[in-house]
């Protein structure tokens, strides 16, 4: 038996509620961390960073954020793009206003500002539920984008309304702008992602996480057994927006470097992140990673395969890519509506039982 949890006994409740209760998983996690922090920075290049790794890390943060709101607290949101925009513009204003302050601080503050905005737009969730709420969050999406497009103060009165990230450093290492080395930007994002994932995991395994899930699974019952729905929903909006704000800030400052709000943070972005969450698995942090990886990789792989290897015309490849991505998404949903995370869980269950079925 390859994967074991039998014989892995816990002697205290602390141990039982730790992040990776099973030894095998725990070691896997350490190995992954070591590779991510020690090995990848050595081999990284611009293409890897800009086409794959940065978007993956950044989207994973957004996906964790949305997963908290949608997967754990059950509030479907289509406003992710708008909230990412808040993070991006917040960090832009901060970076340009206080150039000497560390980017760490700016990004965190941007998250905080987004959290506040998130709470504001989360208020209607008290009355509006399910899909109606999903569509209501679109109001946030469109309104925020419009505001950033409209109010010149946000883009420092630049002629075109674009914002672009000036060069900033962390302890002397440049991490934004074109001169930032790939490994530095990568590590910066990775640190945020790791921290976000750990915080998310801590929140979801404790009482806050349980209030969220209770609201998700049956809000009336939750309220009757003592969950304050206002507090539960608003903390979910706040925490979720905090993460999404961070990801928006990184998306702008480290990944794209220049942003046009309607284009970069439009409704498509909201859908994309929601997809990541769903393909990855609602209510699973691991799923957020898996979903982000899948949807960042897939188009690139398809493109490289179609255009570069088979040499097909780019438009056919682009069309086929839509067809394939669409088909794969639906296929995934059909095969495993609970996402990659569930697939992984089932695989583990099978492994555990192997070679004896049932």
């Amino acid at each position: 038996m390859f994967y074991r949890e039998a014989g892995d006994f816990k002697t205290s409740y602390q141990e039982d509620s730790q992040t990776f209760p099973i030894k095998f998983d725990r070691y896997g996690f350490y190995v992954a961390l070591a590779v991510a922090f020690l090995i990848i920075p050595l081999v990284i290049n611009d293409y890897l960073a800009n086409a794959l790794l940065l978007p993956f890390l950044i989207y994973a943060i957004a996906a964790i954020g949305l997963n908290i709101l949608t997967g754990y607290a059950g509030q479907v949101s289509l406003g992710t793009g708008g909230f990412m925009a808040v993070g991006a513009y917040a960090v832009y204003k901060l970076m340009t206003a206080f150039p000497e302050v560390s980017m760490f601080v700016h990004v965190l503050l941007a998250g905080g500002i987004t959290a506040a905005v998130g709470v504001l737009f989360g208020l209607p969730s008290l009355r509006i539920k399910g899909f109606y709420l999903a569509v209501a969050t679109l109001a946030a999406q469109f309104f925020l984008v419009w505001v950033f497009n409209r109010v010149p103060w946000f883009y420092n009165y630049s002629a075109s309304g674009q914002i672009s990230a000036p060069e900033r450093d962390v302890m002397g290492i440049i991490i934004t702008g074109p001169n930032a080395p790939a490994w530095a930007a990568y590590l910066f994002c990775l640190i945020f992602l790791t921290a976000c994932a750990l915080v998310a995991r801590n929140l979801t395994r404790g009482s806050v996480g349980r209030t969220w899930m209770a609201i998700r699974d049956m809000d009336i019952a939750a309220e009757i057994i003592g969950v304050d729905p206002l507090k539960a929903k608003l903390t979910a909006f706040a925490v979720s927006s905090f993460f999404i704000g961070i990801s928006g800030a990184l998306f702008f400052a480290l990944y794209l470097g220049a942003v046009e709000v309607g284009e970069a943070f439009g409704i498509q972005k909201s859908f994309l992140v929601l997809f990541m969450v769903i393909i990855g698995g609602l209510g699973s942090i691991f799923g957020s990673f898996a979903g982000a990886a899948f949807l960042v990789l897939l188009p690139v792989v398809l493109k490289v395969f179609g255009a570069d290897w088979l040499g097909w015309p780019t438009d056919i490849v682009a069309h086929l890519q839509l067809v394939i991505v669409g088909a794969l998404i639906t296929m995934f949903l059909i095969l495993e509506p609970h996402g990659l995370a569930q697939l992984w869980r089932v695989a583990k269950e099978k492994l555990r039982l192997w070679p004896f079925p049932y």
């Binding site: 800009n50 340009t96 419009w146 630049s158 075109s160 674009q162 702008g177």
Partner: protein, 407 residues
């Protein structure tokens, strides 16, 4: 070989403009390869990469192609241009945004790697006002001019210049943004009906063009007072409105029609040979022609670079030198089979934007063709120059860029 990535968009909301442009760009290089065996004996390789007009994909395309020995980027999108400006500057690859992108990139002292000759959006704005001035014998004080624009970086570009010009000439400017993609413009046109502006200037792209022209025809706005930028004046924009579009004007920095020898060569060596990038039915249309022009400018810069550095297989830095030393003369255009197709100009270290000569074309619905009704004329360099310098300096300050010494 000489590598030219083509960041094109044959899908998505702006495919209508993206397809002919991508075709023209590729076909011209194919023609050079077939006819001349490349440029200076070195074959040209075009790498097409689909962006869908999407900035993220644009960045991905850039990163994927930049290590292929790419000489020049033309993303055909103001949005992508903004992402690429810092990147090409860091990587040392020239970027040519012909008639789009960041206007102040014309300021070569700050934007070493970016070029936007022969004309930019501020030239466009000024050119349109000049045309109106001409129609009104130089006095447009008190006239009402409305700018109907794509609510994006692209559409907002002319605002600053128009504001300056309205101060200078005393016309009243009002702004009407339309959100992308712009299929619904009813309110904007009802507003135009109410305000009765004397002229409507128009910065649109994609479906927005077609709808605007249709709506203008619907409310019977006098078409000759409706003037679009060069990206809003192609065949697919006017055809759907039929007769109604007759008289609509669009600015341009290229000639119209396929009456130039270069197109015969393209037909002969590319389309008839079955080597066309697309269906081959776009030749002679506005955007196709403009792409041929863009490709021609690139090829000329290569020649210049080969001349300067004495190597045939040039690199990106050499390409940049070629672009900065580019001189387009009447004679050279004639040699290329494109006499009078575009303005003549010179690029310099300070000025990456060319002279900003702008012409006006008008749609003839009966003949179904665009006619050039005004030659390529200079625009208000005084106003524009000052604005460009101001904006470029602000950028330099924000990004800690040291001015180049151009002497």
């Amino acid at each position: 070989d000489l590598v030219f990535p083509s960041l094109s968009y044959r899908t998505g909301p702006f495919a209508a403009g993206g397809i002919p442009f991508a075709d023209g760009y590729a076909d011209y290089f194919t023609m050079l390869n077939e006819r001349d065996g490349g440029i200076g004996g070195v074959p040209v390789r075009v790498i097409e990469c689909e962006t869908g007009y999407n900035t993220e994909k644009g960045v991905e395309c850039y990163e994927a192609t930049k290590n292929e020995g790419s000489l020049l980027y033309q993303p055909l999108s103001t949005g992508i241009t903004y992402q690429l400006i810092p990147k090409v500057t860091a990587d040392g690859i020239p970027l040519h945004t012909m008639g789009y992108g960041r206007t102040s990139a014309a300021y070569g002292k700050v934007f070493k790697w970016v070029f936007n000759y022969p004309a930019n959006y501020w030239n466009g704005a000024s050119g349109a006002i000049n045309h109106i001035l001409e129609l009104n014998d130089g006095d447009i004080a008190g006239k009402k001019i409305t700018l109907l624009y794509h609510n994006s970086a692209y559409g907002k570009e002319p605002i600053r210049t128009l504001e300056e010009l309205s101060k200078k000439h005393g016309f009243e400017l009002s702004l009407l943004p339309v959100d992308s993609p712009g299929q619904e413009q009813k309110s904007q046109w009802l507003q135009i009906r109410r305000d009765r502006p004397d002229y409507v200037l128009f910065w649109g792209w994609g479906v927005m063009n077609q709808v605007a022209i249709q709506e203008a025809a619907n409310i019977r706005f006098p078409m000759e007072n409706f003037i679009g930028i060069w990206w809003s004046g192609a065949e697919p924009d006017v055809l759907p409105a039929g007769e109604g579009a007759h008289g609509y004007k669009a600015l341009t920095f290229t000639a119209t029609g396929d009456d130039f020898p270069v197109f015969d060569d393209i037909k002969k060596y590319v389309i008839d040979a079955g080597k066309a990038a697309g269906n081959g039915d776009k030749l002679g249309t506005v955007q196709y022609n403009r792409a041929v022009y863009a490709a021609m400018l690139a090829a000329e810069a290569v020649r210049k670079a080969q001349e300067i550095h004495g190597v045939a297989d040039i690199n990106a830095a050499q390409m940049r030198d070629g672009m900065e030393a580019l001189v387009i003369t009447k004679e050279r255009m004639a040699e290329l089979g494109m006499e009078g197709f575009g303005p003549t100009f010179e690029v310099s270290c300070e000025n990456h934007g060319g002279p900003g000569l702008v012409g006006v074309s008008q749609w003839d619905a009966k003949a179904q063709k665009w006619n050039l009704i005004s030659d390529f004329k200079p625009t208000d360099g005084e106003v524009i120059g000052a604005l460009i310098e101001e904006d470029a300096m602000a950028y330099a300050k924000e990004h800690n860029i040291e001015l180049r010494d151009c002497n």
